[in-house]
Subunit: 175 residues, 2 copies
Amino acid sequence: MGFWKTWFSTSESTAASRTGAFEEMSADVMGNSSPSSDRIVFSTEREIDLYELEELCDAVGWSRRPLRKVKKAIEHSFLVATMWQVRGNQRRLIGFARATSDHAFNATIWDVVVHPDFQGKGLGKALMKYVLKKLRSEEISNVTLFADPHVVDFYRTMGFMADPEGIKGMFWYPH
Amino acid sequence: MGFWKTWFSTSESTAASRTGAFEEMSADVMGNSSPSSDRIVFSTEREIDLYELEELCDAVGWSRRPLRKVKKAIEHSFLVATMWQVRGNQRRLIGFARATSDHAFNATIWDVVVHPDFQGKGLGKALMKYVLKKLRSEEISNVTLFADPHVVDFYRTMGFMADPEGIKGMFWYPH
């Protein structure tokens, strides 16, 4: 229970300390040493080591993408959310998600990933809750995503609806 | 045929004069007088009269949205595309579409509208071709949208695929 309490309380304290659209978890919180146990913390800080992010994406088998483009995508995302395992003064990137948005009506969540070592513990759900809380605090009224077949049920449990009122997600690829 | 030739040639000349990510059709082109016939022109210019846009959206029966938020959404869209009927030195807004994007991988098209008086003439398709050309010129590799049931077939004819490989569009609304 200490584990869960930690990330819930961390999450709450972050919300309480919001000062702008893209608040950062303070360096103090992020680097706070807690020698007795691991902690899971969330951040909207965008200064991410792109190699560490690539390693995380490699771990779930995603195709590699040019880091130059990943950097650009992060810069131009409305929200970038990361999840960290903090052990003493070490931190490890274990989850990531980002969202594009018009800052007014719609947001679309992309690239949701949780490291395989940390899957099955409710952390994907925790990461998504963090993302939704952030988007909601920005008064985004319509949050969308495109779900691979094996995660459709996961997103359903989070309150997402597939094809509401027959609305279809559609894709176009250059040809 | 003159009609079609006009908008195709206008469209091409715009592409040729690209100078940045968000080029604008020049005021000269937009206001160019052509007393002999109506012309349809396209623009990525964002200085849109919000009341004129509201009128266009009213005409297709959309719910009104606060203009403050519409303004913000336009400012924070990656691409804003408008379609105009130009008659002499008058211009009338007859189509609109915009896209959010991470500027690198994904774009999502929102708010595609063509005035009812101009529907059934292939202008929706022309507007979408303009949007896709602009997105493609920015090296966006994945263009997405959420289609209402009655326009799914329209987007299919444009090369969009519904639920490719079982990927589902999903929505979450605040509760």
